[in-house]
């Protein structure tokens, strides 16, 4: 295969979200296959390491970490003499024009060569609109969340106005893709997230660990309070089991308090951020996701790839693409502490059930194998590259 130019457009390349993880896994794969990968990041976090290989070139658009405010109408604010607001808006507009030009120049460096631009979050599209009309550039837009999650923010409107004309708009599930097809999108497709690792499990060993694991940013949206409460309800029935939550974030203090309230300091552990999720997973029995909103969560995919059965809230159509209820895991409505607790008890107490789910989980996770997914990306590139361009 000839070497391809691939550019990822990311809000903050060194943020530690699922989307960045996906992009970094794909970057490693693409680079290993000899392709030319670059990152175009809108902002960056100061002095924070990223998931990406240090050799991958990164261009940051707002070096000064400028964050454009919400766009506003000028004249009405002028009349009300809100000069601060007006000057901010003028700055936003000036910067938008400036940075669009910068983006244009960035892509002009590729000459007439074909470039595949993967926009992992729709936010970045506003700087890419001028290059929509470059025939050598194929924009692939992604949305790493469910329709419902997008609708709770301005992202949904951005998708409706900025993803219609991109070469491909990739969703995480068929359910989400169908939604946008009904909105008249003609360019939808589905692409799963790749799992960075796979580990054939020894299900008996896993079960013996008696550890429940969960991971994610410690923010209210992840529902760790529900998880801790559910575990508290189940704790007496599963005396040897412990709960380990990986990740950090603003809700840490609240969660620590909650653990104290339930007197579970020796049963529930906030483990902080880990560099090595694989190791943590291998040292656990099953995974619980208690989120209120998700896309196609990497955490579940990774857990399954290590043969961990999963219990998850039914918070996105993506959940049911990963967890097959009563085959390799269990599902509960969002926020239903009681059912979540019953599921935890069930899986912890029934070894036969656990073993069956564990084996099924590993098998089912094959569809997220990074080699499989990378191949699907190459097929997509072929498909888009093969399209005739009218100038």
């Amino acid at each position: 295969m000839e070497s391809k130019n691939i550019v990822f457009v990311i809000n903050e390349y060194n943020n530690h979200g699922g989307a960045q993880r996906v992009a970094s896994i794909l970057t490693d794969q693409f680079r290993a296959d000899g392709h030319n990968v670059a990152i175009l990041s809108i902002n960056e976090q100061k002095n924070v390491p990223s998931y990406f290989d240090s050799e991958t070139p990164v261009k940051v658009l707002h070096r000064d970490n400028y964050r454009p405010p919400k766009d506003i109408e000028l004249s009405s604010n002028l009349k009300q003499m809100k000069f601060m607001k007006v000057s901010k808006e003028l700055k936003r507009r000036r910067r938008l024009v400036q940075q669009r030009k910068e983006v244009k120049e960035f892509f002009e460096a590729y000459g007439d060569e074909e470039v595949f631009v993967i926009v992992i979050q729709v936010y970045g599209m506003q700087w890419l609109l001028p290059i929509l009309y470059k025939p050598n550039i194929k924009i692939i837009g992604q949305s790493h969340e469910s329709v419902k999650a997008a609708q709770s923010s301005r992202r949904y409107k951005r998708i409706l106005s900025q993803y219609r004309q991109v070469s491909k708009f990739l969703l995480l599930t068929h359910n989400d893709a169908e939604h946008f097809e009904q909105q008249g999108f003609m360019n939808t497709g589905v692409m799963y997230n790749p799992s960075p690792f796979r580990q054939l499990p020894n299900s008996v060993d896993l079960y013996r660990k008696k550890k429940i694991i969960s991971s994610g940013r410690l923010i209210p949206d992840k529902g760790f309070d529900v998880l801790i409460e559910a575990f508290a309800k189940a704790a007496a029935d599963v005396p040897d089991w412990t709960l380990h939550i990986y990740g950090d974030g603003p809700a840490q203090d609240d969660l620590e308090n909650l653990i104290r309230i339930f007197e579970l300091e020796d049963r529930v552990f906030l483990e902080g951020q880990t560099e090595n999720m694989e190791a943590a997973l291998k040292d656990s029995s099953f995974f619980v996701l208690s989120s209120k909103a998700e896309g196609l969560p990497m955490s579940l995919i990774e857990a399954q790839s290590c043969g961990l059965p999963c219990i998850s809230t039914d918070c996105a159509p993506g959940i049911r693409e990963i967890v097959e209820e009563y085959q390799n895991g269990l599902i509960a409505p969002v926020g239903d502490v009681h059912l979540l607790a019953r599921h935890i008890k069930k899986l912890a107490k029934d070894q036969d059930l656990f073993m069956a789910y564990s084996e099924n989980a590993y098998e089912s996770s094959m569809k997220f194998n990074k080699h499989v997914i990378t191949q699907e990306w190459y097929e997509l590139f072929e498909e888009l590259g093969g399209r005739s361009i009218e100038q």
Partner: protein, 891 residues
């Protein structure tokens, strides 16, 4: 022993669980009961002879729980009724609830329900159901959004839409009193049980609390081919259940509410099956039609459908008729498939779907808002001066001979419209060379028998849309798709500074539009309006208006132009609805009608000259002089003479107008008499003839040439002016005109053209149509008087046009196909057929005959002469100057 306990103490609540092959879920169901916050309850689990591990799991679960009891049926009952009834028979609680073996309760369900039923003392209480496919609450908005206590079904019949039995708690005494149990041996037992419960209960209540999780397993195979045979039984079972319910209503004086029950059946139950109709096989369809036809006729008539959504109304009506062919066609039609027969037809702008057999009442039920039009676009090409694409338009089930279409591009910012050129091989072309800034949205315009259907092109109509961008001079054109998926060509200045400038311009325009509305009620304006009338009247100011400011025309125009000719020191003001679009000679000030400026001049001008009415806009003062020229010799009855007298308010308005007139100009004694009588006008009448008709006597060649130029008519052509009146009572009249014009176009000789002049309400409509080359649309031409000079022959009907045109002594054909109707509706002042200035034709064929045999037409010269003598004897070409002499220049 636990049974002893049960005997000694009766629990408050009994929950009946039924299970059949629920091994995956049954434990969850039981756990959700075991964990209830409410404890004073017993649970009876009835296993309907499951073939999987369900029975075993139940026994295991209840073994150590004294208030749980398992019952195993010795054989499978094939439904839910027997297990539930068995359950009821084995319970002792004061209240009863039901749950299915794959669903579960929220942890507080029993507590909330018991609390509610004790508080309200209702016969039963219903709680919210959550379906697990979307976690939305079943009938949330309609029924379950708030607490409703002590209802009777007869006051909230919408509740019939919730026919579940499991989300409710029942008084055991209520069930026993009415021996209310589940009907055994049938499916859809809930329809019967819950339906009966509603009508038997004196009162029930609703609590807005989530109680029941309904597990919905989305199964892709559910609609597979192998399931279809089973599905017909399913439909049959549903009808059986409904028949039980119907029977119950009949026997329990519920017949009054059959209508509401039918409504639910149509909107919910039957809809499920018509939605899936395309998936059914032939055998299913045959049986389906027989059964549903039978059932519908048992319990309802066709008027049950009349308020349903269009598609349901048509589908059900066809089922009711038993018209399988038309039903199949309609299903095909709404799915964009070809139909076996052409079934869509229209009367005027109203569309209908045609059943197979004719019938008097069909149309009430077969009405359609619009025909379905499908189209696809491909091969879009855009360059500096050309925009083209291939298109495939599909108008199903309509005689395509009557369908024409064209494409249009409309600039939403400027309102400019480009229309497609006809081109070969389905390729549509636009000249894109002179596009200006803005977003041009593409529409398909389908003309079917005078009904224009406009469809905005969406991206989904286009296959393989490429992002194209081209430069043309200082403009950049690009293909753009907006948030709502509409396709457009975006034309922008290429440079950034120009873009900003253009945007500012647009904003100014938009704000200008807004401002006018805003200021109309501003306090400043109100203040000014109080003071303006106090200003002195200016002796040499003359204010003109014609047809409420719609035109620069008619007698005011000719008086004005006559004044311009003379050596006068007047200052002239004209009011228009769109002053910017009017071109006129002289230095008159143009003001927008009803603006502050207009108000100012109304108050200060000494003279008002108008042909319709403007006295409502400002109080006319004693010192001011109002010259009412009026706008035609009356033919139809007007004012107080009308067949049905106008409302008091309209008559008051009329009085306000006529009281203000100082002079009324009249073309003949006949008009003077009629207007005085019709308008109850007692002021002075000037019988000078109409100033507007001066040019018909003088016939200046320059004006004729100007009109020829403007309309693009060669001077050697015979010009036929076709000016039919507007028949507001007949929605078909526009279509008729259009058809007849087309017909005339084919029949007239090569040396002739038809000049079409329609009522201003229709002029917008006609301009959207492509007309044959020998038809010239002059509906928007400002002054009809100038068209007369051009015309060698006039075809009209009841219009005052004939009185003016007759002065030219050129032939007139009166095409009055609806003379009787018109006379009945409007009434006339004289016997039309007797006095007409030309032949009165009833059909277009007659009109054609006279057009093509001028000799025959000449035979009417005598009537024409008589007509002119009676109505036009005053016209001498000097009316304008006479008016000026008598009023403005008197002394």
């Amino acid at each position: 022993m636990s049974s002893d306990k049960n005997l000694t103490k009766r629990p408050k609540l009994s929950v009946v669980v039924i299970a059949f092959n629920n091994e995956l879920y049954i434990e969850e169901t039981l756990e959700s009961l075991y964990e209830q916050t409410f404890k004073d309850m017993e649970v009876v689990v009835v296993n309907d002879f499951s073939s999987d591990r369900t029975g075993e799991l139940i026994d295991q679960y209840v073994s150590d729980k004294p208030n749980f009891k398992a019952i195993h049926l010795p054989e499978n009952s094939g439904g839910c009724s027997t297990p539930r009834n068995t359950g009821i028979a084995n319970t002792t609680g004061q209240y009863v609830m039901f749950v299915d073996g794959d669903d579960w309760y929220t942890v507080t369900a029993c507590e909330k329900m018991v609390e509610a039923i004790e508080r309200t003392q209702s016969d039963f209480v219903a709680g919210q159901v959550i379906r697990t496919n979307n976690y939305e609450i079943w009938y949330h908005k309609q029924l379950y959004s708030r607490e409703r206590t002590n209802l009777n079904i007869r006051e909230i019949t919408g509740m019939l839409f919730d026919s579940l039995s499991v989300n409710k708690i029942y008084q055991r005494s209520f069930l026993d009193k009415h021996q209310l149990r589940f009907p055994e041996g049938i499916h859809y037992e809930d329809i019967v049980f819950t339906g009966k419960a509603y009508f038997l209960a004196e009162s029930f209540s609703i609590i807005p609390e989530p109680v029941y999780y309904w597990r919905v397993v989305e199964n892709a195979d559910a609609k597979s081919i192998t399931n279809r045979r089973y599905e017909f039984e399913n439909f049959e079972n549903r009808i059986i259940a409904h028949r039980y319910f119907d029977q119950f209503l009949k026997e329990n004086s519920g017949a009054l509410y059959q209508k509401e029950k039918n409504n639910k059946f149509l909107r919910h139950d039957l809809k499920l099956y018509t939605n899936d109709y395309l998936l059914f096989d032939e055998e299913y369809k045959t049986k389906f039609h027989v059964l549903i036809h039978e059932y519908l006729h048992e319990v309802m008539d066709e008027y049950s459908f009349i308020n349903l959504a269009e598609r349901d109304r048509i589908l059900y009506y066809l089922l009711y008729l038993g018209d399988r062919e038309a039903f199949d066609d309609y299903i095909a039609y709404i799915n964009g498939l070809p139909t076996a027969a052409n079934r869509v037809y229209n009367t005027g702008s109203q569309y209908y779907f045609r059943p197979s057999k004719a019938g008097k009442n069909h149309e009430k039920f077969m009405k359609m808002a619009r025909p379905e039009i499908g189209f696809t676009i491909s091969d879009i090409h855009l360059d500096a001066d050309r925009f083209s694409f291939k298109a495939d338009v599909e108008v199903n089930s309509i005689d395509n001979a009557n369908v024409t279409y064209f494409w249009s591009l409309r600039n939403r910012q400027t309102g400019a419209v480009l229309v497609s050129e006809k081109a070969e091989n389905q390729t549509i072309e636009f000249h894109a060379g002179n596009m200006t800034e803005g977003n041009y949205y593409l529409s398909l315009n389908v003309n079917h028998m005078g009904n224009l259907h406009k469809l905005l092109v969406k991206m989904s109509n286009i296959t393989d849309l490429q992002n194209i961008q081209v430069q043309q001079g200082k403009l950049t054109k690009s293909i753009a798709v907006n948030q709502k998926n509409s396709f457009s060509i975006r034309v922008q200045p290429t440079t950034f500074s120009k873009q900003v400038k253009w945007k500012l311009q647009q904003r100014k325009l938009a704000q200008a539009g807004q401002k006018k509305q805003k200021t109309s009620n501003s306090s400043f304006e109100n203040f000014i309006k109080r003071w303006i009338p106090k200003l002195p009247v200016q002796q040499n100011w003359v204010l003109f208006e014609s047809h409420m400011g719609k035109q620069y025309s008619d007698s005011p125009k000719y008086i004005y132009e006559e004044l311009l000719e003379g050596n006068n020191k007047f200052k002239y003001i004209w009011s228009f609805q769109n002053p910017d679009t009017v071109e006129m000679p002289g230095s008159a000030i143009k003001v927008k009608r009803n603006s502050l400026k207009h108000f100012y001049y109304l108050n200060r001008a000494k003279y008002w000259i108008d042909n319709q009415g403007m006295a409502n806009l400002a109080e006319k003062k004693e010192k001011q002089v109002y010259i009412q020229t009026w706008h035609g010799t009356p033919l139809k009855r007007m004012g107080y003479d009308q067949k049905t007298l106008p409302s008091t308010r309209e008559l008051e308005n009329l009085k306000k107008q006529t009281d203000a007139w100082d002079y009324l100009i009249s073309p003949n004694p006949y008009t003077s008499k009629i207007l005085k009588r019709g308008f109850r006008y007692a002021g002075e009448v000037l019988e000078t003839g109409y100033p507007r008709n001066d040019i018909l006597i003088q016939q200046p060649i320059a004006i004729k040439q100007k009109a020829q130029m403007e309309l693009g008519i060669p001077s050697d052509k015979r010009v036929i002016l076709f000016a039919p009146t507007f028949r507001d009572w007949d929605p078909n009249s526009f279509q008729k005109v259009l058809d007849e014009v087309q017909l005339l176009s084919k029949e007239i000789d090569e040396g002739s053209v038809i000049l079409l002049r329609l009522h201003y309400l229709l002029s917008d409509k006609i301009s959207q149509f492509e007309l044959p080359a020998n038809i010239v649309n002059a509906s928007n031409y400002q002054d009809i008087q100038e068209l007369y000079l051009l015309a060698d022959l006039l075809i009209t009907d009841y219009s005052s046009v004939m009185f003016d045109y007759a002065l030219l002594k050129r032939p007139i054909i009166l095409y009055c196909y609806d003379l009787e109707e018109y006379t009945t509706r409007r009434g006339m002042y004289f016997n039309f057929t007797e006095k007409a200035p030309g032949p009165v034709c009833k059909t277009i064929d007659e009109v054609m005959y006279f057009l093509n045999t001028p000799d025959k037409l000449n035979e009417y010269n005598e009537s024409l002469g008589r007509f002119v003598e009676e109505f036009g004897s005053l016209a001498d070409g000097r009316a304008s100057s006479k008016v000026i002499q008598k009023i403005l220049n008197k002394k």
